[in-house]
Every structure is written in structure tokens, then in C-alpha cells.
Amino acid sequence: MNSGRSPYAKWLGGSAALCLALLLSGLLVPILGSRADVRIATGFFINLIVVLGLQIFMGNSGIMNFGFVAFMGIGAYTSAVLVTPVIVKMETIPNAPFGISGFELNFWTGALIALVLSILIAFITGIAINRQDGIPASIAALSVLIIVHTTLLHWLDLTRGPRAFYRIPIKTSLNLAMVVTLVVVVIARAFKESKVGLQLRASRDDPIAASTMGVDVRRVRVISWVLSSAIISVGGVLTAHLLGTLNPDVFYFKITFLILAMLLLGGQSTVSGPILGATLITIGLELTRDLAEGPIVLGLDLPRMFGLPQFFLGVVIVLVMKFRPAGILGDAEVDDIGLRLWARLHGRSPDAKSQTIK
């Protein structure tokens, strides 16, 4: 598995391979596809950003983070509330705190503030949550989501609560989403191969052993938590400015399952895994969505089926856990696979070092 490449080589090679594939798809879709396809592709890239963000923490630390969508919500609503024009806000949230209804920021400033706020909250929650291990930590992470969701739902003056927060300026183009995705791929891969990433992965596999080797397990977990949450909140910002309208339920359990399924299907240990998982699931969902709408098949009008996509996501998760718990790619990044194939084709043993075990 470890073919002796340096971390830099792995990072650069791996990122390059993935970015190339994504770039190609991103450039081809508007040429070959319809406007609906472009929208699907944009959504795909945003989901990818969130999944990769999640991978940075979950994949490397081994801790289930069920609350990650909270940061999508924070990013989305912060940016939405700051960037939406005053005219609209006077109507929708006239009594907003901090005088928000009285000013509007440009998209980039708003997004930046959203990012900074998310990092702050991530830092505080990260320290609190990573005092725990395993399941209690997962429950704590989930609590963050519930707290954020409840807050968004009930801070009527700021968010309009359950009612739609609309006319958010549309800023997210396919190209923007794609470029951000490429950046995130590079960051995710860099993190994985970095010293912190390595230490984190060591702590995932054996926390006690890692501690005795001088790894400050809490520190590395908090670092990855903050990085992860920051990226996820960027996904939220892009979501807000793609949909143009928000309500708190957009950032609750439905999207949690979707992103988790994408992460688990492809394999959470790698950066390539989520990309594969996201691709497969997006395609699969589009197919089932046609079904859910009640297409006319063989002259029979099938009824609308709510929840069919989610149903399939659940089935996917259960089947993956039964048959391939490590995900389709397991521990292997695309570049690892590529190198192994290359070596085999050239008749060489894929592993630089192989020993017989005595």
C-alpha cells in the first residue's frame, strides 16, 4: 500500500488526478447538458464540498460527526442574512438584531464573515466535543445540529423561522462551485498527508498507542474539526446563493443522510472515496427521482412516491455496512490504485517492500 512516495508526491499526484477528472466533468456539462443538468452539476459540486469537508474530520479521526450540517446552516444563513438586499430584508426581517436589515454586504464580504463566524463556533464546539470519545462524542456532535436547527427555527427576527427566507442573491455558478471544489480537494488531500493528518489517523487506529507516541489527540482532533466545519460552512454559503431561498429544514436530517451515504459508499478513509460516492449517489438519485415523480412507464401512470430517494439512501447505507464497511475504495486513493495497476502492467510487484512473515 505504501509505495514509499513522499507525502508531497502523494498530495500533488493525488490532487492532480482528482482535480483533472472533476475539471473535465465540470467543463463538459454545460456543453453537453441542459440547464437542468447544469443545476444538478452545481448541486453535485456543493455536495462534494460538504462531503470532503466531512471526510477531513470523520475519515481521519474515526469519530462519527452527525452534527456537521449545523455548519452548513450557519454558513448559509449568515451569508444570506448579510448579503440579501435591504429592500428585501425590510420586508422579511424588519426587526433583525444588530441592525442587519439596515445594511447589505457584497457576496464576498458576506461569505467571508460567514466563514469567520463558523470557524469561531467550530473552535468552541470542537474543544467541547473532543473531550469525549466515540459514541458520546457523536451524540454531542448531534446536539450541535439540534441546537443550531432549533435556533434557526425560532429566532424569528433574524431568520424568519420556519418561513422561507427568500430573494437571496444568486451568486453560485457552476464554475464557482467547481473551482471551490477543486481547492477543497487539494486541501483535503494536503491535510490527509500532512503531519497533523497522519497523527490524527494514528489516533483513529489506536488512540492509546498514538498518545504514548506523543500525539496530542485532542489537539489534532480540534484542528481537523475546525477545518472540516469551515469547509462545510462554505458549502452552506454556496447553497444559500444557489437556491435563493432558505428554510431551516434544508439543513437538518435529510441532507445529513445524503452526505453520509455519499461518504460511506465511496469510503471515508480517502479523499477519492467521497468523490466516487457522491458521483454514484447523484446519478442514482436522479434516476430514482424520475421514478418518484411518477413517470409514465408502459402506459401506466405510477404514483408520486415521497421519500423514495431517502429510502434508497438508507438501503445503500445498510448494504454498504454489511458488504463493504470500508466503502468501495477502502483505504486506496485513486493514485494508489493507478500506481498499482501501472506496476502490475509492467510486471513489477506492486509493493516496494514485501516480506514473508515469520
Binding site: M64, R131, P136, A140, G314
Partner: protein, 295 residues
């Protein structure tokens, strides 16, 4: 003073329900190491079953115990179909499987029934109130408390006096050694699930009677709270689950009282904040033992 007693009764009756749910979770976890996210769907399944029985014209007196039976059977079925295949897998794999199962069940109901909440009949006398001195207590609350105590007693008897219970306690410590003594692992796990289903069924019947309606996603928040209760009480401990559940009920009702009407909606947020804060101070929970892995 009256207010305190009144609210104490509220807290206990809510806490009792959390305790029942938390205990079911703890039972399965202690025997199998599985954190069962799909436990909340037992409530949903019970609810829709009750709806079905009502449609069939069965009397209330039959519907309630049948509901508990359905929950017990559903739990056993869940184990057989979804969890037996992944038994022995690492904890996170099993947890994610249960997550998947939960989604499947929720959306199954969504597909086959409408997403809107459907009203369920409850016995009229559930809604009566009794006056004791200057206190007014809902009959439902008394019944909840009684049923919980009864269920706990039955559980303790089963665990301490029956061989199956003995096997369950042993399996919670060392599953493989139990098998080495010729005791069927399958039966022990099935028994644990049956118990968890039974407890969930009792809680479900009361939750549904209180709500008066069922919907496909009704199990989700209760199971999260049940989890929080187990962690609060000390993860993996059966008495801890009960204590945690009661304590959570107390926290909720206290916040209900002290949060003014403007902050009412934020109640759940505050509950989790308080719980989160408690866990930061004492990660092992009330009855738990700290395993130091992180410095």
C-alpha cells in the same frame, strides 16, 4: 410549593418515558455493543399499528397491549433481519447500519402513508385529571409512572432471577465466553432486543396517547433524547440509563418553567446546551467511569 410538586410530577412522568427508552437502548448496547438509532422507529411502528388496530375496530383495552406486543416483535424482527448480519462488526459499522435502518423505516412509512400526522384515538379516561389536595394530576401521568415502575421491576426480576437474564448480564461482560459455555448467542441477543422492544412499546403507548397523533418521523427526537439520557447517566450502564432519563426529564421541565414565553421555542436548544455543558464537565456521565484515552 404546589408549583414545585406539580412540576416534579411532570418531570418524573416525562423522565419515566425517557428512562424506558434509554433503558432499551442500554440493554441492546450492553449485550451487543450496538448503538441502535432505529430504536425510535419502534415508537413509529407502534403508532401506526395502533392506527391500524383502531381502523379494524378493536377496543382501546386491546389496542394498548397489542401495541406493546407489536413493538416487541418489531424489535426482534429488526435484530434478525438487519443486525444479525453485522454482529461482530466494529461499533461504528453497526451504528451506521442502525442509522440506515432508521432511514429506511421512516421513509417506508412516508412512502406508504401520507407525511401528514394522523390522529390516533386514545382512551377518554386517559385525559381525565385527578385532584389531590390542591394538585391536579393527569391520569396519564400516574399511569406512566406506574407502568414504568412495573416495567423496571419486571426487568430487574428477569435479569436477576431468570437464566436468560443471567446470560444477558454475562454476555454484557464477555460475549464470547458465554458462547463457550454452550449458551446460544442468538437467543441472548434476541432476548435483549425483545426486552428493548417491550420497554419501547410501553413508552410508545404513552407517548402516542399524549400526542394523539402519529407521523413517520415521530421516533427521531425521542431516540436522540434517549441517547442523550444514556450518555448523561453513564454510557453502557443500565441504572445509568434510568437515572439519565429521569434527570433529562427534570432538566426539560425546569427549563420549561424558567424560559419565558419568548424563549419557549428554544427549549430543546437549551436542553442540549445544558446537557452538552454537563458532559464537558463530566464526560463519563453521572454513573460512568472515565476511560482516559485523550489527555
Amino acid at each position: 410549593m404546589n408549583l414545585v410538586v406539580q412540576q416534579a410530577i411532570n418531570a418524573l412522568s416525562i423522565g419515566a418515558l425517557y428512562a424506558l427508552l434509554a433503558l432499551g437502548l442500554a440493554m441492546v448496547f450492553s449485550v451487543m455493543g450496538l448503538v441502535n438509532f432505529a430504536h425510535g422507529e419502534l415508537i413509529t411502528i407502534t403508532g401506526f399499528a395502533m392506527l391500524g388496530f383502531e381502523a379494524l375496530g378493536l377496543p382501546m383495552a386491546a389496542i394498548l397491549p397489542l401495541g406493546v406486543l407489536v413493538s416487541t416483535l418489531a424489535a426482534v424482527l429488526m435484530e434478525r433481519v438487519a443486525f444479525r448480519p453485522v454482529r461482530g462488526a466494529p461499533g461504528t459499522t453497526m451504528l451506521l447500519t442502525s442509522f440506515g435502518v432508521s432511514i429506511v423505516i421512516q421513509n417506508f412509512f412516508l412512502l406508504t402513508v401520507e407525511p401528514k400526522p394522523r390522529a390516533v384515538g386514545t382512551p377518554a379516561w386517559f385525559r381525565t385529571r385527578i385532584s389531590v389536595g390542591s394538585l391536579t394530576i393527569q391520569t396519564l401521568q400516574i399511569l406512566t409512572a406506574l407502568a414504568t415502575v412495573a416495567a423496571l421491576l419486571v426487568l430487574v426480576l428477569v435479569l436477576r432471577r431468570t437464566t436468560t437474564g443471567l446470560a444477558m448480564r454475562a454476555a454484557a461482560e464477555r460475549f464470547d465466553v458465554v458462547r463457550l459455555m454452550g449458551i446460544r448467542a442468538d437467543r441472548v441477543v434476541t432476548a435483549a432486543f425483545a426486552v428493548s422492544g417491550f420497554l419501547a412499546g410501553i413508552a410508545a403507548v404513552f407517548i402516542i396517547s399524549k400526542r394523539g397523533a402519529v407521523d413517520p418521523f415521530m421516533g427521531f427526537i425521542p431516540v436522540i433524547k434517549a441517547f442523550v439520557a444514556t450518555v448523561l447517566g453513564g454510557f453502557g450502564s443500565l441504572p445509568g440509563a434510568v437515572i439519565g432519563g429521569l434527570f433529562l426529564g427534570v432538566i426539560e421541565v425546569t427549563l420549561d418553567v424558567y424560559l419565558g414565553p419568548s424563549l419557549e421555542g428554544f427549549r430543546d436548544a437549551f436542553v442540549f446546551l445544558v446537557v452538552g455543558g454537563l458532559l464537558v464537565i463530566r464526560p463519563q456521565g453521572l454513573l460512568g467511569v472515565r476511560a482516559r484515552v485523550t489527555t
